[in-house]
């Protein structure tokens, strides 16, 4: 039938193979196997494993299994290279990144073919999507390197970055990891995924071709053990991981307490919400881009279609018709829509999950797929929220379809997941889009488009989808460190256990005062029924309630009820903070006396109160200044970055400076709209308990600030283990800090710890960037401008720009 007459009858597309001979020649030149790329050169190939082309099942290369010694050599090389790399001017680093961008473009077809051969993704996608984004990422970060000193004053590189990347976008994830790291002056040890190491190795060769200094980029191949060796290596200052939530959780435990910075970009089960007034044909194409892109092996894939009941029948019919024209097959054929699944192991996993879903009642509608490591495009209906197909990330071309009745219903279903990476909303009603975008808990929300990426917009998730952002300003800040306040003394001694027996030292003059806990806007007795002794300048200063885990539980509940605070305008919050300053000023002598009673000198007490008042003003001033951004990304799209409060935060306040330590840590959190459970200085909590009277008189809504006095470490541990606490700040000894992460179960909580800051650090340095950075997350929305509508096209919300000035 290959005669033209025959083809004129069938009008088939016929084969359109991409020529892979250049790639095969390159692979043949490494027939003896690939080594690692360490210190600017490939090592001799060692014990290793085969790399396959999943479409054919053929072995195409052999790579070396990275041992601990290999990792160690790579980290050492990175360490040696780092100071000099960091000392280069931003401009000089920009030149290197520019060269990488250029060479990626010059070798783009070679890299695209190699990627498709190794990963199984269609050549159209590697050629038209992956490679352009890779080059874009290096260009964008060449820009950040150039502007680093201007845009991030005072920032320093973190040091050596250990990076572990997944197999779904091997080269693109490499770019996402190394471009910001190198731009910021870090050096890198990166492990590509076991299944897909080849483009990373080709990239290493390109880096050498570009003259990237040796040791700046090191690539070690291997499996999960190699990854663990990198993450766990003592010489690594920052770990960045993209991959499964399971492994992310392991890494988080592994490095807890090590002081390493961590970015996790994990799984997702993203909703794809189609309203009745959407362009249904457009939304159907959106599904193609969402779940039948990259074989569905996309962390932010729109895997759960939620469609308005009014149009569900029509939408399903259109979607099924569209499925019939999807072509599954040879990744190197230019007419292929869906290529090979990356590895038979992954194919088995997809089949297993789909089988389970069917056993639970799902009905499948599938397209065609050839024999081998392929899976057909699959639509599953009849999937209940508890079904494995609704809850588990399949990482394959499988999408569920569920109908909803109302917008509220849609939001409920959309958020009914432990993930929070991305969402896609389809409607021609801009009001509805913006409303729903704000209510869906996801780091990225696309409107009338999906899976749109750009280096200029941060990407990352909520909840078990990870934390940290990649891309844009926010991604850069993940690879930068700010000098933190340093203790003048070497740490503080461990805190004594609270004394709950009477001290027998008598009280001062005046009527006896009772310091209670402060929960949900009410002064509350501790659940335990115990009080503990607060020591003072000479004798005991009084008693404070001994809080326990139930008090923490109640406080967290109360904090969650203070929802209005996060939605209030910055102006509203500023007013309350100013009022707080006013009332503190009125009662300044009283607070100064309290501090003197706790042991401060007259001058120190006056100064501490005065500084606390200034700090109220400073954060009030910031409350309505911390804007989002409109990012420059795609043409005809609007990309909005919007900050959001994290939600409910726990703060274990510093021991020294009982008033200022409390104010300096609680105010930045509430200024951004968070609600807080504060554990004041264990030894001197009474300044904080006096403070709740100010809260009561300053129009602070109930539940925004909750104060639980008592044993710091025990209470902080309870906070860290609470699933409904978004973040915990811990100011205490580094010995005690690690548990606050290790015991935390959730993956997404931003638990940070800072070691004790005794001495005079607080009055001078307890404000600014290092506090401002954490108590919020942000998301980005992009909307293409469409002439048909005032505001049509695509909106995406991506995450977290951080600004330091």
């Amino acid at each position: 039938m290959d005669t033209i007459t025959g083809i004129l009858e069938s009008m088939d597309y016929g084969p359109a193979p991409e020529d892979s001979s250049a790639v095969r020649t390159w692979l043949e030149s490494y027939a003896e196997g690939f080594g690692h790329f360490i210190d600017g050169a490939f090592t001799r190939p060692g014990e290793g494993f085969d790399v396959i082309d999943p479409a054919s099942g053929n072995r195409i290369a052999r790579v070396t299994q990275g041992s601990e010694a290999d990792v160690d050599a790579a980290v050492r090389a990175a360490r040696r290279a780092q100071p000099k790399w960091a000392r280069l001017s931003g401009h000089d680093r920009a030149r290197h990144l520019y060269a990488l961008a250029r060479h990626v473009q010059q070798h783009s077809r070679l890299l695209a073919v190699l990627e498709s051969l190794n990963n199984g993704k269609p050549i159209r996608e590697s050629r038209d999507i992956d490679l352009p984004l890779v080059a874009r990422h290096f260009y964008h970060h060449a820009g950040w390197a150039e502007l680093l000193e201007d845009e991030f004053p005072g920032a320093a590189p973190v040091g050596v970055c250990g990076q572990v990347i997944p197999w779904n976008f091997p080269l693109l994830m490499l770019a996402w990891k190394i471009a910001p790291a190198l731009a910021a002056g870090n050096t890198v040890v990166l492990k590509p995924a076991e299944y897909t190491p080849l483009t990373a190795l080709a990239f290493a060769q390109i880096a050498a071709e570009c003259g990237l200094p040796k040791g700046v980029l090191n690539i070690v191949t291997g499996d999960g053990q190699t990854g663990a060796a990198i993450c766990g290596h003592a010489g690594v200052d920052k770990v960045a991981f993209t991959g499964s939530t399971e492994v992310g959780r392991v890494i988080r435990r592994q490095i807890a307490g090590s002081g390493k910075k961590l970015t996790l970009e994990l799984g997702g089960k993203s909703p794809f919400v189609v309203f009745a007034d959407a362009d249904l044909d457009a939304a159907v194409e959106g599904v193609v881009d969402a779940i039948w892109f990259n074989q569905g092996e996309v962390c932010c894939a729109g895997a759960r279609i939620l469609v308005a009941e009014a149009v569900a029948g029509r939408f399903e019919a259109l979607l099924k018709a569209r499925m019939k024209t999807l072509r599954v097959g040879d990744p190197l054929d230019k007419s292929t829509d869906i290529g090979a699944i990356v590895h038979p192991v992954q194919l088995d996993r997809i089949r297993m999950l789909v089988d389970q879903g069917v056993a639970q009642g799902a009905v499948l509608h599938q397209g065609m797929a050839p024999e081998g490591c392929f899976y057909p495009p699959t639509l599953a209906t009849g999937v209940e929220p508890a079904s494995v197909l609704a809850t588990e990330e399949v990482f394959g071309p499988v999408v569920t379809l569920t109908s909803f009745r109302t917008p509220d219903d849609a939001v409920l279903l959309a958020n009914n997941t432990r993930y929070g990476l991305a969402a896609s909303i389809w409607s021609e009603n801009v009001n509805l889009c913006l409303d729903i975008a704000a209510r869906i808990k996801a780091g990225v929300v696309w409107v009338n488009c999906t899976n749109v990426f750009d280096a200029g917009a941060g990407f990352g998730g909520y909840r078990e989808s990870g934390f940290g952002r990649e891309g844009g300003r926010e991604g850069m800040s993940a690879y930068l460190a700010y000098p933190r306040p340093k203790a003048k003394k070497a740490g503080e001694a461990a805190l004594p256990d609270p004394q709950v027996t009477p001290h027998g030292e008598g009280t001062g003059e005046g009527i006896d005062r009772t310091a209670k806990l402060y929960i949900g806007g009410r002064q509350t007795r501790p659940d335990s029924g115990y009080s503990y002794v607060v020591s003072g300048a000479k004798t005991a200063a009084g008693l404070a309630g001994l809080g326990n885990r139930k008090d923490i539980r109640n406080a967290v509940e109360a904090a969650h009820k203070a929802k209005g605070w996060g939605k209030a305008t910055g102006h509203n919050r500023a007013q309350v903070l100013y009022y707080l300053a006013e009332n503190l000023s009125t009662r300044a002598p009283e607070f100064a006396d309290r501090l003197r009673g706790l042991g401060a000198s007259k001058e120190a007490a006056r100064k501490e109160v005065d500084t606390a008042i200034r700090r109220c003003f400073w954060y009030a001033a910031q409350a309505d200044k911390f804007d989002g951004a409109v990012h420059q990304t795609k043409s005809a799209h609007v990309t909005l970055a919007m900050h959001e409060a994290l939600g409910v935060m726990g703060i274990a306040c510093p021991t020294g400076h009982p008033l200022l330590g409390f104010v300096s840590t609680v105010l930045p959190a509430i200024a951004m709209g968070n609600a807080v459970i504060a554990i004041p200085s264990q030894t001197h909590p009474l300044a904080a308990t006096d403070f709740y009277q100010l809260l009561e008189t300053s129009d602070m809504p109930d539940g925004v600030v909750n104060i639980v006095t008592g044993p710091r470490d025990e209470l902080a541990r309870t906070l860290a283990q609470h699933d409904d606490v978004a973040a915990v700040w811990y100011f205490g000894t580094s010995e005690a800090a690690p548990w606050s992460r290790r015991k935390a179960r959730g993956i997404s909580s931003r638990h940070g710890s800072r070691t004790a800051l005794p001495g005079t650090g607080w009055p001078r340095r307890g404000k600014g960037a290092c506090f401002w950075n954490m108590p919020r997350k942000s998301r980005i929305s992009g909307c293409p401008t469409a002439p048909d509508m005032l505001f049509g096209g695509a909106c995406s919300r991506w995450p977290e720009p951080t600004r330091h000035r």
Binding site: D277, A282, A786
Partner: protein, 340 residues
């Protein structure tokens, strides 16, 4: 050379085109009463349409013999057109000669299609040129299409526009490309639009009617969808993008929305409507991409001249050069091929 000439002159040189069979299969659109609910409130997202249109040519590829076949197919769907103020009888005759033999004989021979009797889908001219075209195409089986109704702006009194249709039909045109009154779309006067097109359809009689929407004037894709639907409800056999005289003519996003409209109309009524992009298409590459769009959105049946036409003239030259390259491995200068 003698053999080729014999083939060309033999009766088998003009076999019944393949399209005739399927043309018989589906009933002619009888139209339906105006039903605004079929398009009012129909959402069209431009960004999404542009995204889909932009990936059509990247998602599909035809190579080698397949590419040659797809280009040959494009030729049989071309309405070879001249609509210029300086058209003359001689100019029209030259065009018709090209329509009879659109691809050089040695190329057809090389493609193994020497006996196929390939012609373009039609020749499209102004009403006063119809008579010359009909004469020039006598016995070829190539229909003559005529623009009418005050082409290109259409701003003539309705009775004159209808009379123009009847004139062109009387001259022997088998297909009439009418233009709509854009004002009716821009003001949302659907009833007026419907009535006008229905009257034109009646004036066409047996001649097939292609409704030119002048989408470049309609601007929004929502308008394009609505105008497409009204034209089909009023009995259009084809919907056509452009006159070729607007500042923006056939674009893929516009085509995509018109195809979805005719798909939706087909699902509602059972009638199969044809589609004709026109204006601005010059390259063989575009000919391939438009066909891919047809096949992806509507299926293989819409790759035949009874349901698909290109309104083009210079595109044929590029196709002929590409086909020659396929046959000889050399890129031919256009001077080596007969001009239209």
């Amino acid at each position: 050379m003698t053999v080729e000439l014999e083939k060309l002159q033999s009766p088998q040189a003009h076999p019944v085109p393949a399209r005739m069979e399927s043309e018989m299969e589906h009933a002619r659109n009888e139209g339906m009463p105006l039903a605004t609910e079929m398009f009012e409130g129909h959402a069209v997202n431009r960004s999404a349409a542009e995204r889909r249109a932009a990936t059509i040519g990247a998602r599909r590829s035809v190579k080698k013999a397949y590419q040659a076949a797809w280009l040959v197919n494009a030729v049989r769907c071309i309405d070879l057109t001249t609509l210029a103020g300086d058209d003359t009888a001689a100019r029209v005759r030259r065009l018709c000669a090209k329509a009879r033999n659109p691809i050089a004989p040695h190329v057809m021979d090389g493609l193994g299609l020497a006996g196929m009797g390939l012609t373009t889908g039609a020749v499209c001219v102004y009403p006063t040129m119809v008579v010359h075209a009909v004469r020039a195409l006598e016995g070829s089986g190539v229909p003559v299409a005529s623009v009418a109704t005050g082409f290109p702006a259409g701003l003539m009194p309705l009775h004159l526009r209808l009379e123009e249709i009847r004139y062109a039909v009387g001259e022997g045109a088998q297909e009439i490309d009418i233009v709509i009154t854009r004002e009716h779309v821009l003001t949302g006067n659907w009833q007026a639009l419907y009535d006008e097109i229905a009257a034109m359809r009646e004036a066409c009689g047996e001649a097939h009617m292609k409704a030119i929407l002048a989408t470049g004037d309609l601007q929004t894709l929502g308008n394009v969808y609505a105008a497409s639907m009204v034209a089909m409800q009023a009995g259009a056999d084809f919907i056509k993008t452009s006159t070729g005289k607007e500042s923006v003519n056939a674009t893929l996003p516009v085509g995509l929305i018109m195809l979805r409209a005719l798909r939706d109309y087909g699902q509602a009524t059972g009638y199969r409507i044809g589609f004709k992009p026109a204006g601005g298409m010059k390259s063989a590459k575009e000919a391939l991409i438009w066909q891919m769009l047809m096949k992806e959105e509507l299926g293989r049946d819409w790759l035949q001249p009874d349901l698909f036409r290109f309104g083009a003239s210079s595109m044929l030259g590029d196709i002929e050069r590409q086909l020659e390259h396929h046959v000889t491995g050399r890129y031919a200068a256009s001077s080596r091929h007969a001009t239209a």
